[in-house]
């Protein structure tokens, strides 16, 4: 095993050691949490940043891509808060309960905390950590199996985020919007951790947006943990539109109980390097999980979605559909692994990834995998990569539709399939518009 131990040595790795050493005293949380952080950081120190030799990071060599470690972002000043007033863009106008996180800090005065529904609580993660609650030291730990260096760094360095709880049998009708804004006024790292706990039979819809404003390069490491009780229903949509130079690493952890439903959508358009990793554990019987994602990439963007879905209980169903539209010299990566444990009989799991390449320089890598230990299951996966269909394009043009418009129609059709499954109408429409506006840049 000693061969696997590779001391930190790159500028970014050494920088992270400096960042942690400097910041650790000031990070929120008592001694239990400090111990969890120290252990997590040690995990990083032992292995360094993941390279292509780590299977889960095969196509996103973080050691190579991350040239330096930015200092943790300073708490937002008045100017930063002013910049973040319209956090969430068009989604902010839809009447959702907006919670605003500016440069990694939850900002109460920008957030809508008035008239919280009965059974809904919202707090800042920093505040909750400072109170050293067992829920949180647990929440920072491994409720979902996820042995990952980026997540370990998040655990070690997370300063703030939100903690949301929904009581059993409470249906929160109004979607909750976690609006992360990175002002980009100075090069900085924003490390946030959020926790959402939904009681048995609870229902809620979450939309999470990440957007960049300024010109400075920044690094985001954000994690969101869902603990979804039995018979609960959760919809979660994440839209990532970081600035051109940004590195965004997002981790979603979901622990899903019995007879529950978890629907998740990822929508990525911005950022230089975006890594979305999802670790989902179906821990109770009769649960349904749908994970879907769409990346629209251009120029030299690199977006990687890597997920593991673990079926630990019988009679569950999971579906994963991930699509990418890749233009210019961009690169899309999908790695998905479904694990079916021995006890998880009657599992029904299907995974599909499709990439549409719009230029010769575009690249897509897809690696779906199944790991099955039960003997009575229905599992399958597929992966396709292709260009726009010339026959279809000709058919549209033969009806008078100009070439660029014909292409846009076909790309829109390919991409919209993912978004059209979003049940909440105004979120769905906002993302359909976002597809159209992304396509607009090609004309």
């Amino acid at each position: 095993m000693s061969a696997a131990i590779r001391p930190v040595r790159t500028q970014a790795e050494l920088g992270l050691v400096d960042v942690f050493t400097t910041a650790r005293q000031g990070l929120p949380g008592g001694s239990d949490i400090a111990a969890v952080r120290a252990a997590a950081f040690n995990h990083f120190v032992l292995g360094g940043l993941p390279t292509a030799r780590v299977e889960a990071w095969k196509y996103t060599d973080l050691r190579r891509l991350m040239r330096d470690a930015k200092p943790l972002a300073a708490p937002p000043d008045a100017v930063a808060k002013q910049t973040a007033r319209d956090a969430g863009g068009t989604l902010a106008g839809l009447g959702f309960r907006r919670l605003v996180i500016v440069d990694g800090t939850f900002v109460e005065e920008l957030s809508d905390l008035i008239g919280l529904e009965q059974g809904l609580t919202v707090r800042s993660m920093a505040e909750a950590l400072a109170q050293d609650e067992p829920l949180l030291s647990q929440g920072l730990g491994a409720m979902v199996p996820a042995d990952d260096t980026a997540l370990a760094l998040n655990t070690a360095l997370a300063g703030d985020g939100v903690v949301i709880t929904v009581s059993p049998d409470v249906a929160v009708g109004r979607p909750i919007h976690l609006a992360f804004v990175n002002t980009g006024e100075a090069p900085a790292a924003m490390v946030t951790r959020s926790l959402v706990v939904i009681g048995k039979g609870g229902r809620a819809t979450f939309i999470e947006t990440h957007e960049g404003r300024g010109q400075a390069d920044y690094q985001v490491n954000t994690a969101l943990q869902f603990v979804i009780g039995d018979e609960a229903q959760v919809d979660h949509v994440k839209a990532t539109r970081e600035s051109k130079g940004a590195i965004h690493i997002g981790t979603l952890l979901a622990h899903v109980g019995a007879r529950a439903t978890f629907n998740d959508w990822g929508f990525t358009t911005g950022g230089a390097v975006v890594r979305n990793q999802l670790f989902v554990l179906l821990s109770g019987q009769g649960t349904i999980v749908n994970l879907r994602g769409l990346s629209l990439l251009a120029e030299r963007q690199h977006a990687d979605t890597t997920l593991t879905v673990e079926h630990a209980a019988p009679n569950c169903q999971s579906r994963e559909v991930f699509k990418a539209v890749v233009d210019d010299d961009a690169r899309a990566v999908f790695q998905g692994k479904i694990t079916v444990r021995r006890l998880a009989q009657k599992t029904d799991a299907k995974m599909m990834t499709r990439a549409l390449l719009l230029s010769d320089g575009a690249e897509a890598d897809g690696k779906p995998e199944l790991e099955i230990f039960a003997d009575d299951v229905q599992c399958g996966h597929g992966a396709t990569t292709g260009n726009l269909d010339d026959q279809l394009k000709f058919y549209l043009m033969a009806r008078g539709i100009p070439e660029k418009q014909a292409e846009a129609l076909l790309i829109q059709a390919f991409a919209a399939e993912v978004v059209e499954t979003i049940e909440h109408e105004s979120i769905r429409n906002a993302l359909l518009e976002a597809i159209a506006s992304w396509l607009g840049r090609r004309e």
């Binding site: 026959q391 058919y395 033969a398 009806r399 008078g400 539709i401 129609l409 059709a413």
Partner: protein, 252 residues
């Protein structure tokens, strides 16, 4: 008077294979021309070359549409000028609702011609009316274009597009293939409703059956990439009786 369509000495090949080998054809407005011929004669190639499908190389000859060089135009320009190809195998386009496709096509053509775009309600009204005449279930219009449509539904959908776009030259490529007799009659009625003194049609078919319902003014036999015989509608009957064997060697 300038003919609607004039093809002179057209030679076309695909991937080095010579398909059309000196084809001449003139279609005037108001006329229906049937083009019949054995498999592999170049019937579909002719229709694709008229519509501008990529992949065909024109090695000589020309196509004039109302006196303009058709070969210099992109497929969408040809459509806007009034050329319509009813496909032998209409394509399925998942994710594009039929009605969205129709609206996009109509308005793209209108824009190119400098006409005002049709409003959605006006267009929908027109589409519904045509759909009713062609026996198309209005629910189908909301479905993705041709996806899961039967052969007959696809051909009716092609006819609907043709009626909606009101082209000057209709090219029907084996419209009868895959149709039962009832569907054939409906499609033929739709086509016949478009007969007018301003419009010309080229009906490409292997069998005479279609021509019982769409009665041509002129019948041509296409063999080995050339028109080898031209006659009146009785020629189609003759072919039905004798087959194409006598023409197989004509061009060789």
């Amino acid at each position: 008077m300038t003919p609607l369509l004039e093809i002179r000495g057209l030679r076309a090949e695909i991937a080095g294979r010579k398909i059309l080998q000196g084809l001449d054809l003139r279609v005037d407005a108001g006329e229906i021309h049937a083009i019949m011929g054995p498999n592999g004669a170049g019937k579909s190639t002719l229709s694709y070359v008229l519509a501008g499908k990529p992949g065909y190389e024109i090695t000589s000859g020309q196509i004039l549409f109302k006196g303009e060089d058709l070969l210099a135009m992109a497929p969408d320009e040809r459509a806007a000028k009034g050329v319509f190809l009813a496909f032998q195998y209409p394509l399925e386009i998942p994710g594009v609702a039929t009605v969205t496709f129709l609206r996009t096509a109509v308005n793209a053509q209108r824009r190119k011609r400098g006409e005002e775009e049709l409003s959605s309600p006006d267009l929908l009204k027109r589409v519904r009316e045509l759909a009713r005449k062609l026996g198309i279930d209005p629910e189908m219009l909301r479905r993705p274009l041709n996806v899961g449509f039967s052969g007959g539904e696809k051909k009716r959908n092609e006819t609907l597009q043709m009626a909606l776009l009101e082209p000057l030259l209709c090219v029907l490529d084996e419209t009868d293939s895959g149709l039962d007799i009832d569907a054939l009659k409906i499609v033929a009625n739709g086509v016949n409703a478009l007969r007018s003194s301003e419009r010309g049609m080229i009906v490409i078919t292997h069998y005479q059956r279609l021509l019982d319902y769409i009665v041509p003014d002129v019948v041509h036999v296409l063999a080995a990439g050339r028109i080898v015989k031209t006659g009146s509608k009785e020629l189609a009957m003759e072919l039905e009786a004798t087959g194409y064997a006598q023409y197989q060697n004509v061009a060789a």
